[in-house]
Amino acid sequence: MKVHVDRKLCDNHGQCAIAAPDVFRMNDDGVLEYDENITDDQVDEVEEAIDVCPVQAILLASD
C-alpha cells in the first residue's frame, strides 16, 4: 500500500505521528516526514492516522 499526504492541505498538526509513529514523524522544524510505502500490518495504524488528521490530508492507495 502507498501513503500520500497532500502537502497543500497538511497543516503540520502532528496527529498522524501520534497515531502511527513508525510511518509519520515530525522533524525538528515541525514539518511532517513519512514513509510512502507501508506493509500490510501498518495499514490499521495508517487508517487511524487518516481519521485523526484534522484536515484530511492523508490518502492510502493500493499500489
Partner: protein, 409 residues
C-alpha cells in the same frame, strides 16, 4: 460471528461523531444495517474551519463551501444509509423506536446518540437581525456575508470560538470589540495568567477587549428596527455595532431523549464504555457524551474537542456490537484529550485536562512573547495533567505528550 445482517443500528446525528460511529461499527465487524439520521441538510462536514478558513474565505456558494469541508466517505461505509434533513423528535428506548419530525417511526436494535451541541443564544432582549452564532455551515456563510471591511463587530464570549471569530473578523478588515464574560480569553482551559497574555496579544493586533462584562440588552439600529444597532452592557456602557457574534457556549441536543429516565444534566451521562446509565444496547459519542475520566478520576464530563468523536466512537462501537452479540466488553475509553485553536496565524494546542489544574507554570518561552513559542504545564495535586503549547513546532507537542502520559497514574 453472529449473523447481524437482519438487524439495524440507528445513529442520531450526522456530523463527525455520527460518521466515526458508522465507520467504527463496520470496523468492529457489524455487518447489519446502519442508518444515520441527521437534521442538517448536509452530509457530515468538518466544523473547525467554520470560525477560521471558511469564515475568512470569500465568495463561496454553499455547495463549494460544503465541498471544502465535507468528510470523505470511506469504502467500508458505502452501504450506510444517510437520512438527512430529518430531525428525531422523540424516542422510546425500551420499545426501541424513534419518531421523526414528519411522523415517521424508525425502529432499531442498537442506537448511537451523536446529536452533539447547538450554540447557546443570549436571552437579553432586543432585535435578532445582525446577531450570529457559529455552529453550522450555514451560520458561517451567513456571518461571512456580513463581515465587510470597516464593519463594526461585537463578539460576545471569549472562548476558543469567540477568539477565533474575533481574529478572523479583524483580518477581514472589521472593527472588532471582544466582550469577555469571564476573566480573560480562553480563561477556563488556560488559567488567568495565560489568558491575560493572550488578551495582550489580541489587543496588540487591534481588538478592543472588555473584561468581565455582561450584556443587558440589544438596541435596534436607527434605520431598521429588526436589526441590532448597539449592545448595552450591565456596566452601562453602550457599544454601537452592526454585527454581533454570540459565542457564549453551547447546549446539548438532548430533548429527543427525554422521558427515558436518563440523566440528561449537561449532556448524556454515560459509563466508561459510553453507555448511557440505565440503558442497554445504546451508546453515545462525541460532544454530547458525559463520561468518566479514567485518567484523573474526576467527575464525568463532556469534552468538546474535535478528537473526542473519533476517540469515543471507537470504544462505543465496539461496546455496542459486543452488547448486541452478548460478547465480552472492549477496553473502556481513556483517550488523552487534545485540542487546538488557530488565531492570527498562531496554533495553540492543548493536551490533557488543563482546566482541572490547581497550579500552572511556564515550561518553555515567556508569556510576554507568545509568538516566539511557549509551553505551559498544568498540575493538579502535583501531577502534570495538561500541557498547552503555542507557536512551537509539532515535534515539541509530541515530546510534551510523552511527558504527560508518563506522569499520568
Amino acid at each position: 460471528m453472529v449473523n447481524t445482517t437482519e438487524r439495524r443500528i440507528v445513529v442520531v446525528g450526522a456530523s463527525l461523531g455520527g460518521l466515526r460511529a458508522a465507520e467504527q461499527l463496520r470496523a468492529a465487524g457489524w455487518d447489519g444495517e446502519i442508518e444515520v439520521i441527521g437534521d442538517e441538510p448536509y452530509a457530515p462536514y468538518n466544523r473547525p474551519p467554520l470560525s477560521k478558513e471558511l469564515l475568512a474565505n470569500p465568495g463561496l456558494s454553499a455547495d463549494e463551501a460544503l465541498a471544502k469541508v465535507a468528510f470523505r466517505r470511506k469504502k467500508q461505509t458505502e452501504d450506510v444509509t444517510f437520512r438527512l434533513g430529518s430531525a428525531v423528535v422523540s424516542s422510546n428506548l425500551q420499545e426501541r423506536v424513534l419518531r421523526l419530525a414528519d411522523g415517521t417511526q424508525v425502529t432499531f436494535d442498537g442506537l448511537v446518540i451523536a446529536s452533539g451541541l447547538r450554540a447557546r443564544r443570549l436571552t437579553a432582549p432586543g432585535p435578532m437581525g445582525g446577531r450570529h452564532v457559529i455552529r453550522t455551515l450555514d451560520d458561517s456563510l451567513a456571518l461571512h456575508s456580513e463581515l465587510k471591511p470597516g464593519t463594526q463587530v461585537v463578539v460576545i464570549g471569549a472562548g476558543f470560538i469567540g477568539c477565533e471569530a474575533a481574529a478572523t473578523a479583524l483580518e477581514l478588515g472589521c472593527d472588532v470589540t471582544l466582550v469577555e464574560g469571564g476573566k480573560g480569553p480562553m480563561h477556563r482551559p488556560l488559567g488567568s495568567d495565560v489568558a491575560e497574555a493572550f488578551r495582550r496579544r489580541l489587543v496588540r493586533r487591534g481588538i478592543t477587549c472588555l473584561a468581565d462584562r455582561h450584556v443587558e440588552k440589544f438596541e435596534a439600529c436607527d434605520t431598521d428596527s429588526t436589526r441590532v444597532g448597539a449592545v448595552v452592557l450591565a456596566s452601562g456602557e453602550r457599544l454601537p455595532t452592526e454585527v454581533v457574534i454570540e459565542a457564549v457556549g453551547s447546549v446539548p441536543n438532548v430533548e429527543w431523549l427525554e422521558g427515558n429516565d436518563l440523566n440528561l444534566t449537561d449532556g448524556v451521562l454515560c459509563d466508561e464504555w459510553l453507555r448511557p446509565v440505565g440503558t442497554s444496547n445504546v451508546v453515545a459519542v462525541g460532544d454530547i457524551a458525559r463520561f468518566p475520566d479514567l485518567r484523573l478520576r474526576q467527575t464525568p464530563r463532556r469534552i468538546e474537542h474535535w478528537a473526542t468523536p473519533g476517540d469515543t466512537a471507537k470504544t462505543a462501537a465496539r461496546t455496542l456490537t459486543a452488547d448486541l452479540a452478548g460478547a465480552s466488553l472492549p477496553d473502556p475509553c481513556d483517550a488523552l484529550p487534545n485540542f487546538w485553536s488557530d488565531q492570527f496565524g498562531l496554533r495553540i494546542s492543548g493536551l490533557g485536562s488543563p482546566a482541572l489544574a490547581d497550579e500552572l507554570a511556564v515550561m518553555e518561552g515567556t508569556l510576554d512573547d507568545i509568538d516566539a513559542g511557549i509551553a505551559v504545564g498544568y498540575w493538579r495535586d502535583s501531577v502534570l495533567v495538561g500541557v498547552v503549547v503555542a507557536g512551537l513546532p509539532a515535534q515539541r507537542l509530541l515530546q510534551y505528550r510523552t511527558q504527560l502520559t508518563a506522569a499520568a497514574v
